[in-house]
């Protein structure tokens, strides 16, 4: 197993950490550059995490605002991306808690039955008659994958998203989720096993997942 902590020297060499240090000194353009660099990555990960595009954008804005407000205390102890996604994960967790509390109060929304959100199969059944087969196939697999992703717990999902889309190492994921590398290894192992169980039928029966 690799070392459990990112070295501070590596963090200090991170160009984005340098930009953040410039923002700390009052250079707004440096922060604008950071927002520009990370906006798509952050919104992308958050969209998969909260499964709501608009909420993901709002959350991303909140992340940048929080980072900017905390700029005076910023120290480059980790890569900037790790720092940013750690804050994003914390804010997303808070939001999930808030949404969970609201759901406890406001039961049975118009699209949700007693079992919660509608399953991907139901949505697909409703839309299948409206589009060409090829497009439908793509949307179907997206829905199935999204559905499989939603069965993971919060930490598993975040670890999967960071590893898949941010190509983060286990060390960086551990720093982001404030846990150990060993815990990340277990998280990802269980998450990928869950995904395998959910998605294997689609891989073996359909054409998806064949080697590109």
């Amino acid at each position: 197993m690799k070392p459990t902590r990112a070295e501070p020297t590596a963090a200090a060499r991170d160009p984005d950490a340098k930009l953040m240090l410039r923002a700390k000194q009052g250079e707004e353009a440096a922060f604008t550059q950071l927002v520009n660099s990370y906006q798509d990555r952050l919104v992308g990960v958050l969209t998969h995490l909260v499964q709501d595009r608009q909420a993901a954008e709002d959350l991303a804005q909140e992340v940048f605002l929080k980072i900017y407000k905390a700029r005076h205390g910023y120290e480059p102890t980790a890569k900037f991306s790790t720092y940013l996604f750690r804050i994003a994960n914390n804010l997303a967790s808070n939001r999930r808690r808030d949404v969970g509390r609201k759901r406890e109060v406001t039961l049975a929304g118009s699209d949700s039955g007693p079992m919660g959100a509608r399953p991907a199969e139901q949505i697909l059944a409703e839309t299948s008659g409206m589009m060409p087969a090829r497009q439908f196939a793509r949307i179907e697999i997206q829905a199935v994958v999204q559905d499989a992703l939603s069965t993971l717990n919060d930490n598993q999902r975040m670890a999967v998203l960071l590893h898949k889309f941010e190509e983060m190492s286990y060390i960086d994921i551990a720093a982001t989720l404030d846990t150990t590398v060993s815990a990340v290894k277990s998280l990802l192992s269980r998450a990928r096993e869950n995904l395998r169980v959910k998605l294997e039928p689609y891989v073996t029966q359909g054409t998806w997942g064949s080697q590109d």
Binding site: M1, K2, E28, F31, T32, V35, N36, Q39, D40, L42, V43, G44, T47, H48, R53, A56, E57, A60, Q61, F64, L65, Y68, K69, R138, I141, Q142, V145, Q146, L149, V160, H163, K164, S169, Y170, K185, S186, L188, S189, R192, E193, L195, R196, K198, L199, E200, Y202, V203, W208, G209, S210, Q211, D212
Partner: protein, 169 residues
Amino acid sequence: MAKISRLSGEQRENLVAYLDGELDEAAAKEIEQALASSPVARHDVDMLSRTWDLLGQLPTSPAGEDFTSRTISSIRAAEKPKARVDDAAVSRAIRRTLGLAIALLVLLGAGTAGFLATNRWVPNEADEILNDYEVISELDKYLEAGDIDYLTKLQEHREFTEHDEPNTP
């Protein structure tokens, strides 16, 4: 799960780390040996890999075109007005406190002046009684005496004057 029962729990956990290139050399070698001797483990690794690739099918969700400008604007709005609001709030609070203090002082002054004025120039019933106390306390005697001539005559007699002197009003 039965499919990979030939692998130990640790090896099963290491399969994913192996695929992710996160194992050290010795652990990776151990997994490679297990894979070489187990078609079931090879199948599982293949499925883990192919199902993982499916995540790449998820739609990308880039930020809106004006995301950066909106974000920077909201940051400016959250930062700068806060300072202005703070200054304005402080000066408003000072003005309000001063105003209140002045109003209180005026009220207190007016109250004191009013009290003194009414106390000094507007006599009340109690003051009148106190002023006339000496007369009132001897009123029975005055009524008995009748008029001033009778008292004058009475005074001319020495024997009455000497005894009554201490009680003379």
